[in-house]
C-alpha cells in the first residue's frame, strides 16, 4: 500500500475514534434496565453469581454456540494441518520438566476451586478451563506432553464431552417447553454439570489450540 493511502487510512481511523467519542459523549440513560431484571430473576436461576447466571442460564444459548466456536477453531487448525518436519523441536529441560510435574496437579486443583466458586462469586468454567489449559501448555513446553498429530477416540470424546453435555441439557430443556430451560429444582445441579463438562472440554480445547499439531493430509504433505 502506498504512503498516501496509508495516511488516508490512518486519518480515517482517527476520525472514527473522534466520531465514536462524540457519539458516546452525552447519552441519556438507557431505557431498558437489564441489571434489575437479572437481579430479579437471579433467585430462580440456580446460581447466585449474576455473571454466571447470565452466562449459563439467561444467555446460555450464546455460551453453547461459543463452545462450538472453540471446537471449530480447533477443527480448522487440524484441517489446515502443519508440515511435520518443521514442527518446533524443544530441547529437553529437566528443571522445567520437574517444575511442570509439580505445578500441573496444583493447577488442576485451582481449576476445580474456580469451577466450584463460579456459582456464587467470580470464577467459573471459563476461568477454570483457562487454568487447566495453562497446565497443558506448561506440560507441552516442558516436554511430557507431545503435540497432537491426530486426536484419538478418547481425546475426541474428552474434547466434545462438555459440548455434548451442554447439548443434552439443551434438548432436555425442550421437554420443559424451551431449549435450555432448566427445571427450577435442578437448575443449580444442571448448571454445575454443564460447567464441569465445559471445564474439562474447554481446558482441553484451549490447550489443544496450542497443541494441535500436524494433521498430515492423506497422500502425504503437500507443498
Amino acid at each position: 500500500m502506498n504512503r498516501w493511502a496509508s495516511v488516508a487510512v490512518a486519518l480515517l481511523c482517527a476520525v472514527l475514534a473522534l466520531a465514536l467519542a462524540w457519539a458516546m459523549w452525552d447519552l441519556p440513560p438507557a431505557p431498558v434496565a437489564l441489571p434489575a431484571q437479572v437481579a430479579g430473576s437471579l433467585a430462580i436461576s440456580g446460581v447466585e453469581h449474576p455473571v454466571t447466571a447470565v452466562l449459563l442460564n439467561f444467555r446460555g444459548y450464546d455460551t453453547l454456540l461459543e463452545v462450538g466456536v472453540l471446537l471449530i477453531a480447533l477443527l480448522g487448525m487440524l484441517a489446515a494441518g502443519a508440515t511435520p518436519e518443521r514442527m518446533t523441536a524443544l530441547p529437553p529441560d529437566p528443571v522445567l520438566e520437574g517444575l511442570a510435574r509439580l505445578l500441573a496437579p496444583l493447577m488442576v486443583l485451582v481449576a476445580g476451586y474456580l469451577l466450584w466458586a463460579g456459582a456464587f462469586r467470580p470464577g467459573g468454567a471459563f476461568q477454570a478451563a483457562a487454568v487447566l489449559a495453562a497446565a497443558g501448555v506448561l506440560l507441552r513446553l516442558a516436554g511430557p506432553v507431545t503435540a497432537w498429530t491426530r486426536p484419538g477416540r478418547v481425546l475426541r470424546l474428552a474434547l466434545a464431552a462438555g459440548f455434548v453435555v451442554f447439548l443434552a441439557v439443551a434438548v432436555l430443556g425442550l421437554a420443559q417447553g424451551a431449549m435450555l430451560e432448566y427445571p427450577r429444582a435442578w437448575a443449580g445441579s444442571l448448571i454445575l454439570a454443564v460447567e464441569a463438562g465445559l471445564t474439562v472440554s474447554l481446558g482441553l480445547t484451549l490447550a489443544g489450540l496450542f497443541l494441535a499439531g500436524p494433521e498430515i493430509p492423506r497422500g502425504g504433505p503437500r507443498t
Binding site: 466520531a19 465514536l20 462524540w22 457519539a23 458516546m24 447519552l27 438507557a30 431505557p31 431498558v32 434496565a33 437489564l34 431484571q37 437479572v38 430473576s41 439467561f58 444467555r59 446460555g60 444459548y61 450464546d62 453453547l64 454456540l65 461459543e66 462450538g68 466456536v69 471446537l71 471449530i72 477453531a73 477443527l75 480448522g76 487448525m77 487440524l78 484441517a79 489446515a80 494441518g81 491426530r150 477416540r153 475426541r156 470424546l157 466434545a160 459440548f163 455434548v164 447439548l167 439443551a170 434438548v171 430443556g173 425442550l174 420443559q176 417447553g177 424451551a178 431449549m179 435450555l180 430451560e181 432448566y182 494433521e215 493430509p217 492423506r218 497422500g219 504433505p221 503437500r222 507443498t223
Partner: protein
C-alpha cells in the same frame, strides 16, 4: 407426539450441532451418512416450519423460557423461513455431492463433515436469531467454520486464501460487534423486538448502524470489498466452494437486509442506499469482466459470485424511500435473487467440479470433450448459467423481473440498465465455458467419467433454480408473512 407440538425452531439449531458433534466423535473423514440423514430431517423441519408459518403466522421460541430482553428469542418470519429453506435446499444436495467428491479427491476430507455441520447450524441459528449479540456469535461460528473448510485442502493457495478470508471475516464481525456495543450502551438491550420500538436517529445509533452494515458488506464481498472472495471460493475444495458461494455470503446479506429494513429503518437514508446500489452496479460489471478474463474455471465461477452479489445490493436504492408497492417488489426481488443465486451457484460449482475432475484440469481451455463425456454436468452448468443470466422462466428471471419493475416504477432507469447489461455479460462468460466444453478434442478419451451422483446433484440444484422461477409466487407469499 403430534406434529403440531414439534417446535422446529430450536431443533433447526440443535440437529446440525448434534450431527456435527457425532461426526467429530466418529473421526476424520467420517460422518457423511449421518450428515445426510441430519440434513434430510432438517429439510423436513423447515417444511414443517413453512407450513406452520402459512397457517399460524410468525413463530417464536424463547430460549431458556426467559424471553427478551433478559433471554434470547428465536423468531421465524417469512424472510427467515425462506433463508432456511434455501439453506436446506442447497446443503442436502451438496452433502450428497461431497460424499462422492471426497472419494475421488480426499484432500480436505478429514474434518469436512463436522465443520460443515457447524456451518449449517450457524446459518440456521443466524437466520432464526432475534438478538444482536447472539447473531454476533453465530456470525463468528459461521466465519470460522467457513475459514476452516477453506483451508482444509492444506494447499498453499487455499491456506493463503483462508487467511485472507479469516482476516476479512474477523474485521467484519469486529465492526459488527462495535455496533452491538454502541446499541446496547444506548438502549440497554440487544433484542430486535425491544429495539424495534426504540431506535431513533441519534448520532451513536447512526454510527452503530454504519459499522454493522459496513461489516456485513465486507462479509458479503460487495465491490470493492470483494478481494478475499475469489481466491477463497475458487481455491477451496469444490463442495466447500459451493457452500461458501451459495450460503455463507447470503447470511451476511440477510443480516444487512434485516437490519436496514428492520430496526434501523428510521435511519435509512436514500443517499446511502444509492451508494450501496452504485457499489452493486460496479460489482456486476467488475465481477463479470473479471470472470470473462479468468483462465481457470473455478475462478470464473467465483468472480461470477462477485458479480451476482452486486444484484443483491440493488434492493437498497429500490426499496429505500420509494413507494410501498415498488419497495415491496424490490425487496422480494432481492431475497429471490439470494435464493436463485444460491441454487444456481451451488449447481455451477458442483458441475464445474465434476467437469474439472473429468477433464483433469481446471483450465477452461482444457475442457474440450467434456460436452461429449459428461453431458449431464455440462447441461447442469448451462442451466445454472441460464438462471444467473436471468432468462425466463428461471428463478433468476423472476428476480430480474421484480427488480426491473421496481426500477422502472420508481423512475430509476439506470438500475434497469445494470440489470439488463449484467445479464448479457453473464451470458458472455457462461457461454465461454460452454463453447470450450463443446470443442472437439484431438486426444480421444482424455476426459474420464465421474461418479454419477456428482452430475445428478448438480443437475438437481440447477433444476431447482429453474423451478424457483415458475413457483416464485409461493416464495413471495411466504415472504410476506410477518413482513
Amino acid at each position: 407426539m403430534a406434529i403440531e407440538s414439534v417446535a422446529p425452531l430450536p431443533w433447526l439449531v440443535l440437529l446440525p450441532l448434534a450431527w456435527a458433534t457425532l461426526s467429530f466423535l466418529l473421526g476424520p473423514s467420517r460422518g457423511a451418512g449421518i450428515a445426510i440423514v441430519g440434513l434430510l430431517l432438517q429439510a423436513g423441519l423447515v417444511l414443517l416450519l413453512a407450513w406452520q408459518l402459512t397457517t399460524m403466522g410468525t413463530q417464536h421460541h424463547a430460549v431458556g423460557g426467559w424471553g427478551a430482553p433478559l433471554g434470547i428469542d428465536l423468531v421465524a418470519d417469512g424472510l427467515s423461513v425462506v433463508m432456511l429453506l434455501m439453506t436446506a435446499a442447497v446443503a442436502l444436495p451438496v452433502a450428497i455431492y461431497a460424499r462422492a467428491w471426497f472419494v475421488a479427491k480426499p484432500a480436505g476430507a478429514a474434518w469436512f463433515w463436522p465443520l460443515s455441520g457447524f456451518l449449517v447450524a450457524a446459518l440456521n441459528g443466524l437466520f432464526l436469531s432475534a438478538d444482536l449479540f447472539n447473531i454476533y456469535v453465530t456470525l463468528e461460528l459461521l466465519g470460522l467454520a467457513a475459514v476452516g473448510l477453506t483451508a482444509a485442502t492444506g494447499e498453499r493457495r487455499a491456506v493463503a486464501a483462508a487467511m485472507r478470508y479469516l482476516l476479512a471475516t474477523l474485521l467484519g464481525s469486529g465492526a459488527y460487534l462495535m455496533g452491538v456495543a454502541l446499541v446496547y450502551g444506548t438502549y440497554g438491550s440487544v433484542s430486535l423486538a425491544v429495539l424495534g420500538g426504540l431506535v431513533e436517529s441519534l448520532p451513536v445509533v447512526m454510527l452503530a448502524a454504519g459499522l454493522m452494515v459496513a461489516g456485513m458488506l465486507l462479509k458479503t464481498a460487495l465491490f470493492p470489498l470483494h478481494f478475499w472472495l475469489p481466491p477463497a471460493h475458487g481455491g477451496a475444495a469444490t463442495p466447500v466452494s459451493a457452500l461458501l458461494s451459495a450460503l455463507v455470503i447470503k447470511a451476511s446479506f440477510y443480516l444487512a437486509l434485516r437490519l436496514w429494513f428492520g430496526v434501523f429503518e428510521p435511519l435509512a437514508a436514500v443517499s446511502a442506499a444509492q451508494v450501496l446500489g452504485a457499489l452493486g452496479a460496479a460489482a456486476v460489471f467488475w465481477g463479470s469482466v473479471q470472470a470473462l478474463l479468468q483462465a481457470r474455471l473455478k475462478m470464473l465461477v467465483a468472480y461470477s459470485t462477485v458479480a451476482q452479489v452486486g444484484y443483491l445490493f440493488l434492493v437498497f436504492p429500490l426499496a429505500t424511500g420509494t413507494p410501498a408497492e415498488a419497495a415491496a417488489g424490490a425487496w422480494q426481488g432481492g431475497v429471490l435473487q439470494a435464493v436463485a443465486h444460491a441454487l444456481a451457484k451451488a449447481a455451477m460449482f458442483a458441475a464445474a467440479g465434476a467437469m474439472i475432475l473429468g477433464a483433469g484440469s481446471d483450465r477452461i481451455d482444457r475442457l474440450g470433450g467434456v460436452g461429449a463425456r459428461l453431458p449431464l454436468a455440462l447441461f447442469a452448468f448451462g442451466l445454472a448459467g441460464i438462471v444467473l443470466m436471468g432468462l425466463p422462466p428461471t428463478g433468476g428471471f423472476a428476480t430480474k423481473w421484480l427488480l426491473l419493475m421496481a426500477a422502472l416504477e420508481t423512475g430509476q432507469w439506470w438500475w434497469a440498465a445494470v440489470l439488463v447489461g449484467g445479464g448479457l455479460l453473464a451470458a458472455a462468460y457462461v457461454f465461454r465455458v460452454l463453447l470450450a466444453a463443446f470443442a472437439p478434442v484431438p486426444e480421444q478419451g482424455r476426459v474420464t467419467g465421474v461418479a454419477r451422483s456428482l452430475e445428478w446433484t448438480a443437475f438437481a440444484l440447477a433444476t431447482a433454480g429453474v423451478l424457483l422461477g415458475l413457483f416464485a409466487a409461493h416464495v413471495v407469499t411466504l415472504l410476506d408473512v410477518g413482513a
